[in-house]
Symmetry: C2
Subunit: 416 residues, 2 copies
């Protein structure tokens, strides 16, 4: 067996190998292999196993790159299946203002809030939008993310949504992170349509979706189904139009209240229902029966101080595959870190470390329908990995800066 890339001298490889998604008790199986090695050729994994077997079976090319893990652990590159990473404008100051007691209404009245992100994104040049997005992807990469989803949704006109997705495509073309693009024209009813929301839904269905499908600018269509945003009926109509146009489906569901999103998600068998802070047991059973992944975003609950998290334990126990994501966004998604999403999943949601890791890798890859080539360390998949400077559990030692290297397609694209 010939390899041009090898990770050796590990304490443990957590491969997350095997069929996706991992459901129920199997979500706790992260595929631990003590002192494993991982070998790849041409960016694809050819071997994961014991060092002694590699010595017997493997050969390195003359120019092979050998990464000495120095006794640290190795896990798959993280897959972040829910981000709003492309936007213009800076709302980070809202964080301090909110903590000091400013209400969302006060911030919006001062020109903050989502409207300000929409205005800034519409006004931004493509170059500026690209530069901002690239910087955010760089941050995510340093946190170990090698594949992510990215949504439009701060344009809210056909032109501006298309601009976002075109810029995203251009940025993704030369970034180490592999990007799965999503049309989220139905992120919000824009101000100018507030009195005629039906007309905006028509724009989404008759203009945006066909144009995006025509240019193949997105793989997914998402809808923000929530009281005050889009109703379950509106969400269903938009999603069905998108499916008709060839887009795959995912949705924001039951984030701020039990607003019916998980019912629509199960009915349409969308790939992923996201947030689910208010999903109940009946909703969980419906998602499980329909094979919908629950993508949970504990960082959003944390920074928005929602005071509760999605019932992750209940979802796992009722047979729903759980994935984790960061929800990077301008107004509350302040952490680019999948390890922090894992940390909160463990300490606020009651997941085990292994469940959280599977949620951040294999199940997240399934949530993006990319589990055929990312999300696990096994032959045939891409050589995407994170080297930890100590044991794998160090990933959830917040602030300890324990990611030593990030590998995408067999190339070390971040190291310290």
């Amino acid at each position: 067996m010939l390899a041009d890339f090898l990770i050796c001298n590990t304490s443990e490889v957590l491969s997350c190998a095997g069929p996706a998604p991992r459901i129920g008790r199997r979500q706790a199986d992260a595929g631990s292999l003590a002192r494993g090695v991982v070998a790849a050729r041409g960016g694809l994994i050819v071997f994961v196993g014991h060092e002694s077997d590699w010595r017997r079976l493997g050969t390195l090319t003359d120019d092979a790159v050998v990464l000495d893990a120095r006794g640290g652990a190795v896990v798959p590159g993280f897959v972040d299946p829910h981000t709003h990473v492309i936007f213009a404008g800076d709302r980070r100051d809202e964080l301090r203002r909110r903590l000091a007691g400013a209400t969302y209404a006060e911030i919006a009245a001062d020109g903050g809030g989502i409207v300000s992100s929409v205005n800034a994104t519409r006004a931004a040049t493509e170059d500026d939008l690209a530069a901002d997005t690239r910087a955010r992807l760089d941050e995510m990469l340093r946190c170990g993310t090698t594949t992510c989803e990215a949504k439009s949704g701060y344009g809210l006109t056909t032109d501006a949504e298309l601009k976002m997705l075109r810029v995203l495509r251009a940025v993704a073309a030369d970034h180490d992170i592999e990007v799965s693009p999503t049309l989220l024209g139905a992120h919000e009813v824009p101000v100018e349509y507030r009195e005629r929301r039906r007309a905006y839904i028509d724009v989404v269905i008759r203009e945006m979706i066909p144009a995006v499908a025509r240019e193949r600018l997105a793989e997914w269509c998402d809808v923000f189904c929530e009281t005050g945003v889009f109703t379950p009926d509106e969400s269903r109509e938009i999603l069905l139009a998108a499916r008709q146009a060839g887009l795959k489906l995912r949705m924001h569901a039951d984030e701020l209240g039990p607003s019916g999103g998980s019912r629509v998600a199960a009915e349409l068998r969308v790939r992923s229902a996201d947030h689910l802070i208010f999903v109940d047991e009946a909703g969980a059973d419906a998602l499980a029966a329909a094979g919908v992944v629950a993508t949970l975003l504990p960082i959003a609950s944390f920074y928005l101080k929602l005071g509760r998290s999605a019932p992750a334990r209940m979802l796992i126990d009722r047979g729903v595959a759980v994935a984790l994501a960061t929800d990077v966004n301008p107004g509350g998604g302040f952490s680019p870190s999948m390890p922090f999403a894992m940390t909160l999943a463990c300490f606020s949601m009651g997941l085990t470390f292994e469940e959280a890791l599977v949620g951040a890798t294999l199940n997240a890859a399934y949530a993006l329908d990319r589990h055929d080539h990312v999300g696990g360390l096994e032959p045939g998949k891409q050589m995407d990995a994170v080297l930890v400077s100590g044991p794998a559990g160090d990933l959830i030692r917040v602030g300890a800066d324990t990611i030593r290297a990030v590998v995408k397609r067999g190339r070390v694209c971040h190291a310290r």
Copy 2:
């Protein structure tokens, strides 16, 4: 005014300057100065103010170091007033086991728990203990800590406690972090004294405290006052003996239950009562009246999944100065990051960003009785600072790696 060190081109300097501690509403005053500059000479600050004033008043030496903040914010170097940073042995694997459901008793039965840290620390060579401690201090420094407290307490014999404090002194002598050492002989009754605890208390009082005082190995004496550890009466006796010997006092109080620690802290007017998860309003009033600082450790609540945090808002509202600390320790203090302590203080305890920052700087310096020379950016204090790559609020964007440089006594000791 002559300076050999200058930080310029900031967006904001949060100086935390002024009298310590900051109590009540004043804790929210972090001393914001838009586009400020900070100048120092010989490691001491000589000027903090507007750029235009500096241009008028200041002169740089020929060999001056100029740090361009590139539009980022500057805050004082963090002061971490409660750590158990010196110990031997590695219990990080307990984190994963605990998350997977192992009880503390099961982990202890397998040779884990505090007993394992004591055994490892007793057995460790001074060189190994020094190397481990140095590595942990390095981690803290990268997180912006420039001054910290460090306790003994994993020796639990006179010799082993003295060894810890001697190693700590040696490590501190050539580390950038300024260390304030604490004798915590009364951390736990060691196994060999479980049936005769009085005899152990006598060892602490008659051997450890005099020996430590004689060698000037510690500035502070601390006691773990808690049900099942040391009673309020025992804690009082130990602390009074320490005061008699010339040590200053601090204590672990009301962490796991309302066990009377805050009453003792107020009665003895110790400098700092730490943890205080179960302090009530009467306890807060007593602390406020006695001028005791409340040092809160939200990272401990988080990683130990205590399910509640100290009532930080109540403490501030009742006039107690609140400081923040990491509680770095082998069994649960898994984060070396004062910014993470601030993050949890904001999002789990309801502090504003400014209150958290004052708690991590000026009030923490007061908790260590070092507010005369650290904890704030003002003339006469040490040139200890953290440069943020963006706005100051980025410090609480977990995982975003936003600390660009750490300065101690006018020297850049970490940069990226």
